[in-house]
Amino acid sequence: MSLAKRKIMSRHEPEEAVEARAEAVVEVRPEELRILEAMLFASSEPINEKDLAARLPEGTNLAGALERLREDYANRGVNLVRIDGKWTFRTATDLSWLLSKETTEKRKLSRAAIETLAIIAYHQPVTRSEIEELRGVSTSAGSVDVLLETGWIRPRGRRKSPGRPVTYGTTADFLSHFGLDQVGDLPGLEELKGSGMFDGRLPPGFSVPMPSDDAALRDDEDPLEPSDLDLGLAPRAEPASGD
């Protein structure tokens, strides 16, 4: 039952109904919620809905149960979130002050690398020369290497254009690190569309303005060749079949 519903009901129902409902909520917690809680709590990795459904009784409304759980935990110290289409519990963002003491400081990315990551994220699939054009500098090799090392980007294919440059995109780790359900949820995408950011490289009439980390290659991409992998070009690439 949603929070909103509960409030409305408590306002319009007689006392007994409220009481009965309160008891139902508190005491007889539906088994599917308990199962979801247990599975999601136990794992540190997000779990996809198929795997969750596999452990639930037949006919359970998974989407409904997840939504109910999400609401249950919305104001707790631990929240249920969806990352890359999968579900996981994470600590509430406003409590970061509490926990950050425990962690060691991660290496900070240079501004060039941050900018390069943003270009890859918002512009994917994108080649190095396109990154360079956007940034107006001709030396982005270092940034790309650093980003490959973080595991947040991956070479995903080769552009069908002279020189067949490698195209880059983001990984599931990227979504997980920034707590995104999908690249479509990147902040400020609308503003970027408004800035004409996506117009530049697209031929007229070609309307794929949104970034996509879909493993499926675009029409203008060829797959990476085995030799690309041998060269260590794609050491961190996710298997194409990974999702």
Binding site: F41, A42, S43, S44, E45, T88, F89, R90, T91, A92, T93, S96, L99, S100, T103, K106, S110, R111, A112, I114, E115, L117, A118, I119, A121, Y122, H123, L134, R135, G136, V137, S138, T139, G142, S143, D145, V146, S176, H177, F178, G179, L180, L186, P187, G188, L189, E191, L192, S195, G196, M197, G200
Partner: protein, 282 residues
């Protein structure tokens, strides 16, 4: 690799208010001339769409001159941009000529403004991205994951063909090369004991064990095992007090005889020790 950024106050900007932020330029070129242009444009404090490209070009060129006066080594990108801007500036200042084959000066200026706008947009996007709560910095996953135990149940597979070929090939192999190893004849201690008991039962005087044994040795190959078992059994019988054994010197013949009629107690002891009564077969 973090670009080593070199900061210096842009001294040329004498016409600007002193509270404006100092320009920070990475001369190694990781940020690039577009970045510099963007910083200069921001100082015009207008919408990038309404920026004066001419003024911007002037500021950029002034900056480059200043940097050269200070003998800063600028990356080639900066110089290329300076040359291009000088060209653009000259085109903008000249009366526009219709050149069907190329872009007009205004197109070029607009294209530059658009590039700046894009760079600014991606900058803002990057900032928003990194303002998001980040994993292991702002938000955390379960610290003690309870691993899902994976219990594998093997499902064995084999085909009838596997079975039949395995059967046929091993039967064939053993049928053709099967050598029945002759069971090695070993004279057991029991057998030796029985024989020796017969020996000492038959003769009360000293008897050479080896002489006696030769009668038993059918095959020369059994000589070693017969000798070893007999000797061991003989020692056992001596220990039990049923027989006596003596030898003149090392490697001399061994003699054995039944012990002189034992006392009652001894006899009982010998029998209790499990030895068969002597002379039963005699």
């Amino acid at each position: 690799m973090t670009p080593e950024e070199t900061a210096f106050e842009a001294e040329f900007a004498t016409d600007r208010a002193t509270d404006e932020p100092a320009l920070v330029v990475d001369v190694e070129g990781f940020e690039g001339p577009l970045n510099l242009l963007l910083m200069l444009a921001r100082q015009q404090k207008v919408d990038l769409a309404k920026i004066s490209i001419l003024a911007l070009a002037d500021q950029y060129l002034t900056f480059i001159e200043e940097a050269r006066r200070l003998r800063l080594e600028l990356a080639a990108d900066y110089l290329v941009m300076a040359a291009w801007l000088a060209y653009l500036k000259s085109r903008l200042l000249l009366p526009e000529q219709a050149t069907p084959e190329g872009m007009t000066a205004e197109d070029m200026a607009n294209a530059l403004a658009l590039r700046l706008k894009r760079l600014e947009a991606i900058r803002e996007a990057a900032q928003k991205l990194f303002e998001r709560p980040q994993l292991d910095r702002d938000v955390f996953v379960r610290g003690q994951p309870e691993p899902i135990a994976h219990i594998k149940h093997p499902q064995w597979t084999a085909t009838l063909y596997d079975l039949l070929t395995a059967y046929a090939s091993q039967r064939q192999k053993t049928a053709l090369s099967h050598v029945r190893m002759q069971k090695r004849a070993v004279w057991s201690l029991g057998e030796a004991r029985e024989a020796l008991e017969r020996l000492v039962g038959a003769a009360s005087d000293w008897t050479r064990i080896d002489e006696y044994l030769i009668a038993y040795i059918v095959e020369p190959s059994q000589r070693a095992t017969v000798l070893a078992s007999s000797f061991a059994s003989a020692l056992e019988m001596v220990r039990e007090g049923v027989a006596e054994i003596h030898q003149q010197q090392p490697f001399a013949p061994l003699f054995m005889r039944k012990r002189a009629t034992p006392q009652n107690g001894n006899g009982v002891a010998a029998e209790a020790g499990g030895a068969g009564p002597t002379g039963t077969t005699g």
